[in-house]
């Protein structure tokens, strides 16, 4: 297989192979075409790029470090392990890369109001943050169940001046928050910019979010070449919708010697009904505007996802991932709640870095694979976010007499 030039995908129909597309109500179509034209224009505009880089540097704190995890490397006794420290970004995760970029798109296209969906609250906080910084008004849709689970992030968003609207339909999680955001956008499309938080949704969003997140992979490539003089053998990232993975993988797609490993949330196991493993247990279907792997029943009703980490608790996956999976360019592996939790503790105790539960899925896969690798190999883990947001949830779980996981 061969992933050709950077510029070819998605094609003009918004397709990554068979995946992607624009399956949305007609009301949104003119806005999506306009967004595509505006985006093409601004991405080749040197002033826009300068502005973007300025805010990434001065506000988000980029570039983020590539950290050699010495004690983890020794503990696992295999390859040299590096962590791409997206957890050190402002607001604590990679999400800010995308929200800065899209907020600038909103501003440059004359929109004064943004909306966003959020699961764990990280994208909601990153959206509320840029809204405050750029003086935009901001409404965030969040599942009622997630608002309960992530009450602190709800408080943060409101402190930042955003309005948080509970999504009370369906499973009351990220999927439903996204439905509500799209419904709201249909009604307010003429004066509102929708900042989608992952590489999902109708074209051109999967491309836009990937492009704003590719800074992760670009920086990683530069840093590893400087530190090691060569590219890594394997790169690991967690994947729900898949924006940190896509941003990390994208600049390496044509470097075929680099293996790309995406870690799906297997929840309580892919053979139970409680997981979010859309690649392993889903099949192609249409959700939130694009064709991709989807958890669904025989008749196409979307089935609820489960993961210990709210950020991976999503029944779909970005369409470019579906395509990379079919082509075999990236390897998609399931990681359970328990394995992620063990890795969460391991990294905290060995490196003094408390990872987000999402990112702990990627660490867990390295824990599994490293013993079968050799010391002259190099791996990079995308540490997409920090775990401060998860501390309360884990404390509650540990206090339960019979641990939930």
């Amino acid at each position: 297989m061969s992933v050709q030039s950077d510029r070819i995908f998605p094609d003009q129909h918004g397709r990554f192979g068979a995946y992607g597309g624009r399956y949305v109500p007609e009301t949104l179509m003119s806005a999506l075409h306009q967004l595509e034209r505006d985006y093409d224009r601004l991405m080749s505009d040197a002033n826009f790029q300068r502005e973007l880089n300025y805010h990434l540097k001065t506000f988000a704190g980029r570039p983020s470090g590539l950290y050699y995890a010495d004690r983890l490397t020794r503990e696992l006794g295999g390859p040299r392990i590096y962590l791409k420290r997206e957890d050190l970004n402002h607001t604590g995760a990679h999400k800010i890369n995308n929200t800065i970029g899209q907020a600038l798109l909103a501003i440059h296209t004359g929109k004064k109001r943004i909306i966003a969906e959020t699961g764990a609250g990280q994208h909601g906080v990153a959206s509320a943050t840029v809204a405050a910084k750029f003086g935009l008004s901001c409404t965030v849709f969040m599942g009622e169940e997630d608002m309960r689970r992530q009450a602190l992030n709800v408080f943060r968003m409101r402190m930042l001046g955003a309005e948080v609207v509970p999504a009370v339909s369906g499973t009351r999680t990220l999927k439903d928050a996204t439905n509500e955001a799209i419904r709201h956008w249909v009604e307010h499309v003429e004066d509102t910019y929708y900042i989608i938080g992952s590489v999902v949704g109708p074209h051109p969003y999967p491309r836009i979010v990937r492009d704003f997140q590719r800074v992760i992979g670009d920086e990683t490539k530069d840093a590893i070449l400087e530190l090691e003089g060569r590219l890594p053998d394997r790169i690991y990232a967690c994947v729900g919708g898949g924006s940190n993975a896509m941003g990390m993988f994208y600049p390496f797609l044509e470097d075929e010697e680099v293996a790309l490993v995406a870690c799906e949330a297997a929840g309580r196991g892919v053979d139970t009904t409680e997981h979010a493993a859309s690649i392993h247990r889903g099949r192609p279907g249409i959700l939130h505007g694009s064709l991709t792997y989807l958890l669904q029943d025989e008749f196409g009703q979307v089935t609820p996802a489960h993961s210990i980490s709210a950020g991976l608790d999503y029944p779909g996956i970005g369409p470019e991932h579906a395509w990379l999976h079919d082509m075999g360019r990236a390897r998609y592996v399931p990681v359970t709640d328990r394995e992620a939790l063990d890795a969460f503790y391991l990294l905290s105790k060995l490196e003094g870095i408390i990872p987000a539960l999402e990112s702990a899925h990627a660490v867990a896969q390295v824990v599994k694979e490293a013993p079968h690798m050799t010391p002259d190999e190099i791996v990079v883990i995308c540490l997409s976010g920090r775990g401060d947001k998860d501390v309360e949830q884990i404390a509650t779980m540990e206090e339960a007499p019979h641990g939930e996981n």
Partner: protein, 275 residues
């Protein structure tokens, strides 16, 4: 497809009334009774909503109806069963309303063949815009089932032209920005959309989304060939789902009858065509 044309022509110089209900809401048997009531009450075209877990184009009332239906075990093949049962009793056009994913999972080819055998005349897919519609339309055409497109206030003349030229059955004009649901005010913009659509097709033009009262239905009938009423009917089912009964059926039937009497219209353009 011919039945759609006949249904729109059944009232000379007047608009067709196109009521919508969700199949299987609250149960299969109840909904069959409710659809029969719509026919008795003077509906010209019946829109049968296939319930879906993630209905992006629907407001809270129809979302809730879908959940009620699904929670009573409704599955897509039962929509064909319901259609076939109604087809035995009426010559009016029967239109299925479904989101694209259930259609994709069932298989485009099989869906339209089964829809045709059940006696359905058209299909509306609210999340299948023009750009994605070609493969679906090919199967619909092959089965002689109309793929009925939507146009909205944001469509613009160029899109409307492309959409109208590929339209089958009728063109569904969305009255306002937003999802389905009752609205106190009808946007005046919809008249512009209807006018633009007519420049590019001679198919009937129906207006829906937000038509919730008898007065609004009457107003829409002055400039559209069809008036689509959904949430206002579904709400009358919702209000009595605690104990669905004969009173639910008569409540829906009475309201539909009022709508039917209201859409007398002022259909100058149709009369012109005929004259």
């Amino acid at each position: 497809m011919e039945r759609i044309e006949q249904s729109f022509q059944s009232r000379v110089g007047q608009s067709a009334l196109i009521p919508f209900l969700t199949a299987g809401d609250p149960t299969f048997e109840d909904s069959l009774q409710l659809f029969r009531a719509l026919l008795r009450a003077g509906a010209d075209v019946i829109e049968i909503g296939i319930p879906y877990s993630d209905p992006l184009a629907d407001g809270p009332v129809i979302q809730a109806a879908a959940l009620r239906s699904l929670s009573h075990g409704f599955t897509l093949p039962r929509a064909f069963e319901l259609t076939a049962a109604l087809r035995k009793e009426t010559n009016k056009a029967l239109i299925l309303f479904t989101y694209v994913n259930p259609l994709l999972q069932y298989g485009y080819d099989k869906f339209f063949r089964d829809a045709a055998s059940a006696g359905a005349d058209g299909v509306i897919v609210p999340d299948l815009p023009y750009e994605e519609s070609s493969p679906v339309r090919a199967y619909a055409d092959a089965a002689n089932v109309a793929l009925i497109p939507l146009v909205t206030p944001t469509s613009g003349a160029e899109r409307i032209e492309a959409i109208a030229k590929q339209a089958r059955g009728f063109v569904y004009c969305v009255s306002s920005l937003g999802v389905t649901g009752e609205r106190a005010q009808m946007s005046a913009r919809v008249q512009d959309s209807v006018r633009t659509v007519r420049q590019f097709t001679s198919l009937p033009v129906a207006v829906g989304f937000g038509v919730s009262s008898v007065e609004q239905a009457r107003y829409v009938s002055t400039f559209a060939d069809g008036v689509i009423v959904g949430s206002a009917l579904v709400r009358r089912v919702e209000e009595s789902t605690e104990s669905p009964s004969a009173s639910t059926v008569s409540r829906v039937e009475d309201f539909c009858k009022e709508l039917s009497q209201a859409v007398v219209g002022d259909k100058i353009h149709l009369q012109e065509k005929e004259g």
